[in-house]
Symmetry: none
Subunit: 231 residues, 2 copies
DNA sequence: GTGCTTGTGACACCGCTGTGACAGTCGCCA
DNA sequence: TGGCGACTGTCACAGCGGTGTCACAAGCAC
């Protein structure tokens, strides 16, 4: 938020000379400060020395590969990491996100695409730095314990608020009724009552534009519910 | 506060070497002056010697833990303290704020996020150190220790005044009855007495235009109370 | 003692919450 | 494509719990 004036400092880890120097040039021209490394080892060293704001990391590296670099960094730090992967290989994507990366880009990559991803990831990080998060017109303020829609207070009840807070701690992740029961109600067993559904319904009535066609709190059939991150 | 120049002077207390040196570097690059300590004892000593403008304090420390460091500092000083906590553990958060911290950040932490929080807390502090703040027609004068409404002295009792001051230290933030009890009364446990409510009621009677429909001191159902910042 | 402040407990009120029945919807399979 | 079964949405209602309010007595300073 206060950082909008400051130039982001990136670390680019990529062994292919042509791609590395090309991206370094392009990203510099897009207004970033860039450091570059040609191997995983050099990358980790540079990371510790220079503390970049974000890392762009090739997956296929000689020696320590990108996934491993990612995991090692994640042990102590949570700066954004964008993976560069050779093909749109879904397995790679999964492993990458599991190893703690924030986003991935498929090679060959256009500098302006990469730049757009970089800015998106940095923006996301800044939004999370405040205690509030926005889902379309709905804004959750964790410190004030209020939820607003188009700027107006939604007056959620305590249970509705807790439910929304728990969902928003894991945006995009489906939570079962059991899990929600534990997280929100601190019960263990739900009979066959409509407890969770009823609360979700009440929450939708306040939060959604069209409660009968929810776009925020989605039903995951056979599982439970999921809070969709903003588009 | 010994340092009144432009660059904020931070004290970082963190026992993990990797995180400490990493954050020290990153924060320095973000434009802060940073001193660092690896234990609670060292931290307290450095604090007395160097008088930083703000402290970033890990909770899990060998020997004196972060909460205790926080409490000891708070006995004599009001400088902003940001806690670093291992997980988004709600209990930790509550205890942290009760021990007198101004904010908390969950580890692993992104340097950018921490920087944003630091600037936010410092900004808040600047607003406060101007010794008066206005909430609509209600003006709190910290140096005179008076509260006026439409220019007339409200004659708050000592407890009412302390309650209002604690609320106004965190405008817009909901505070639980437990937290208020610790901050204002320095008790640990509230039975099921209406202590906080009664005091809030008396304060509202003096401060609000329509005490039965409060606009300044809002009830946050299931949580506690919150002082609304001026529109 | 006098006057003010503060903590306590009783009480009423209001709105939240959980329940269960029923209707509606979705997906699967023939 | 249509039907069936399972799953989900919806609703009304009664009980409950949190909050506002108040009176009173103890504490305290003068």
């Amino acid at each position: 938020m206060s950082q909008n004036d400051q130039v982001p400092f990136l670390l680019l880890i990529e062994d292919d000379d042509a791609i590395r120097t090309g991206l370094e040039l392009a990203l510099t021209r897009q207004g970033h400060r860039v450091a570059a490394a040609a191997s995983g080892e050099d990358g980790l060293r540079l990371f510790k020395e220079q503390r970049p704001d974000l890392i762009v990391l090739d997956v296929m590296l000689p020696g320590i590969d990108g996934f491993e670099v990612c995991r090692r960094i994640r042990r102590t730090d949570q700066l954004p990491i964008i993976l560069l992967t050779a093909r749109s290989d879904d397995i790679d994507v999964v492993v990458g996100l599991e190893s703690g990366a924030d986003d991935y880009v498929v090679k060959p990559v256009q500098a302006r695409v990469l730049d757009a991803r970089i800015r998106a990831v940095l923006r996301r990080g800044e939004r999370e730095s405040s205690d509030s998060s926005a889902y379309g017109s709905v804004v959750i303020d964790r410190s004030a314990m209020t939820v607003t829609k188009d700027g107006e207070d939604l007056q959620l009840t305590p249970t509705e608020l807790r439910l929304l807070l728990e969902l928003s701690r894991r945006p995009g992740q489906a939570l079962s009724r059991q899990q929600l029961l534990r997280l929100v109600w601190e019960h263990d067993y739900l009979g066959d009552s409509r407890l969770v559904d009823a609360c979700v319904q009440r929450l939708r009535a306040k939060v959604e534009d069209v409660p009968s066609a929810p776009t925020l709190i989605r039903t995951v059939r056979g599982v439970g519910y999921r809070l969709d991150p903003p588009a």
